[in-house]
Amino acid sequence: MIEFKNVSKSYENGTLALDNVSLKIEQGEFVFIIGDSGAGKSTLLKIMMREEVATHGTVVIKNRLLNTMKKRDIPYFRRHLGIVFQDFRLIPNMTVYDNVAFAMRVIGSKEKKISKRVPYVLSMVGLADKSKAMPNQLSGGEQQRVALARAIVNNADIIIADEPTGNVDAKRSREIVEMLNKINATGTTVIMVTHSEDLVRQYGRRVITIQDGKIKSDDISRAGIVAESSALPPDLNLSARRAIREADEFIRNYKPEGEKRISGGESDE
């Protein structure tokens, strides 16, 4: 799904941000990318988002070769991605609802579809009652959840989260990772960049450590989701994978007298 082959990236000022990086991330994986400041994490993400182009090597995402992608195809490629930034990047003069709806509007979705999908996504991130609030009325954690809702509202295949916990406290950080876990459980690939090794240790996920533009370690054995998803036939499409995962999760969480689970909202699929 995502494949970097001998990728290097140097900037005009001579900085070598990535040095011969090779990695492969399968569909449905949850990967942490860690490393010190200036290690090359952001460059790696930018290349994934096609904001930058590798100087050497090839990058293939969703069977598309990013190196030679035409400029006019970039917006359509980006619709496969959901991006979450450290500084949330919410539009301050729009309500929570409009911030999330904005992502759908700018790719030309119909209002009818938007009015169904946005409330569902907001309820997924636990902000159903804040849809009319303005971003400055929300806490940091809530703002990041709005950003998360915006990233998943267009049914992205890959969520790229660039330090999403950088501006929130430890408790809220865990909440955000839990939410990313939940999104990942539906079959969406999640790539999360973070500084916090403590946070990473709490989850038994694959961790790629980057140092001086090189991959220092790649703990592929902990790619739990890959192991789990290998039990499913490889040619199964995304919707089917999601359905199986949701059913599986439902069975695992099922309590006869338990509270009602959130459902619906995927009517557009």
């Binding site: 290690a39 980006r78 699929e269």
Partner: protein, 313 residues
């Protein structure tokens, strides 16, 4: 994959236009600032243009008063006088030629000299010769026209004020150059101020542009609301500027109206220029608004641009 990779053929123009209007409302302060900047520039240019139009008209009126008198010999027959009239009209630079018979010329002169007329009391009214009063179309061709008139038969002499005509022509040409230079300068300054305003607006909106890019909005989908916004602000600034220029012009005419009437010149009626000015103003507003938005947005829309704000490494 769901429908989110479809080319956005369903991209609704209504939404984009609405979004343009919403942008204006939600960025009230910046919208007001943009309108104010554009308006100041347009008002300055408008007032300067009208000022130069009036100076030109005034100088034109004064030159028109600088007539050439063609005095006719007393023994010329009526036919010869008539033929002379036709010949004068035949000269290409002649605007009007009026025959003034000697009977009319004397009382007119008497009237113009006022009390001194008493000195001429009892004199014959045919003291002065018949004459043609000639006005010219283009004062720059003064000399050529005078030589053509001098070629005519049956004339006693020509009375003309070459120096005055030349001075007026020079003055008019100079005023023309000055007006072009001043308006051009104002245009350059305006473009500079307007482009800076647009740049500041775009800088304030780079977050929105970045979000749109990151969720996969196409370039034109991002541009369109900004273009609508530029056009709407341009139209508003154009219309309001016209109203302000009208106010300033009317007030100005009231203030200097008397002076103009002494020079027997009338100010240009605003209505004659209102439509042209409105078209020019709105066009300037729309073009600067739309092109300004497109040009200054390109910086944020460029792909592969290294986004230094976004480096968290």
């Amino acid at each position: 994959m769901s429908k989110n990779t479809e080319k956005s053929g369903s991209a609704s123009l209504t939404y984009l236009t609405k979004e343009g209007f919403r942008n204006i409302r939600s960025n009230k302060l910046m919208s007001l600032a943009s309108i104010a900047v554009l308006m100041s520039c347009l008002v300055l240019i408008g007032v300067a243009s009208l000022l130069f139009v009036n100076i030109n008209i005034m100088l034109g009126d004064i030159s028109q008063q600088n007539v050439i008198m063609v005095y006719i010999q007393d023994d010329a027959t009526d036919e010869q006088i008539e033929q002379m009239g036709a010949e004068i009209q035949g000269i290409s630079n002649v605007a009007t030629s009026t025959f003034i018979p000697k009977e009319e010329a004397f009382p007119e002169v008497m009237e113009s000299i006022g009390t001194a007329a008493a000195l001429f009391e009892g004199m014959e009214s045919d003291l002065l010769p018949d004459a043609y009063e000639v006005t010219l179309k283009d004062m720059e061709l003064y000399d050529e026209t005078v030589s053509s008139l001098e070629q005519l038969d049956n004339i006693i002499q020509l009375r003309h004020n070459r120096d005055f005509a030349q001075q007026l022509t020079t003055l008019r040409t100079t005023a023309g150059y000055i007006s072009i230079a001043v308006i051009a300068m104002l245009l350059v300054v305006s473009l500079f101020i307007i482009s800076n305003t647009v740049r500041v607006t775009m800088y304030n909106r780079r977050l929105e542009i970045r979000i749109m890019k990151s969720v996969g909005a196409t370039k034109w989908f991002i541009r369109w609301p900004f273009i609508v916004e530029g056009i709407v602000l341009g139209v508003i600034a154009g219309v309001v500027s016209l109203a302000i220029v009208f106010g300033i012009y009317e007030a100005g005419i009231k203030a200097v109206g008397n002076m103009l009437s002494i020079l027997s010149s009338k100010p240009a009626p605003f209505a004659d220029y209102a439509l042209n000015m409105l078209v020019a103003f709105v066009a300037t507003g729309v073009i600067t608004g739309a092109i300004g938005s497109i040009v200054s947005m390109n910086k944020y829309l460029k792909e592969q641009d290294y986004d230094s704000d976004n480096v968290s490494e």
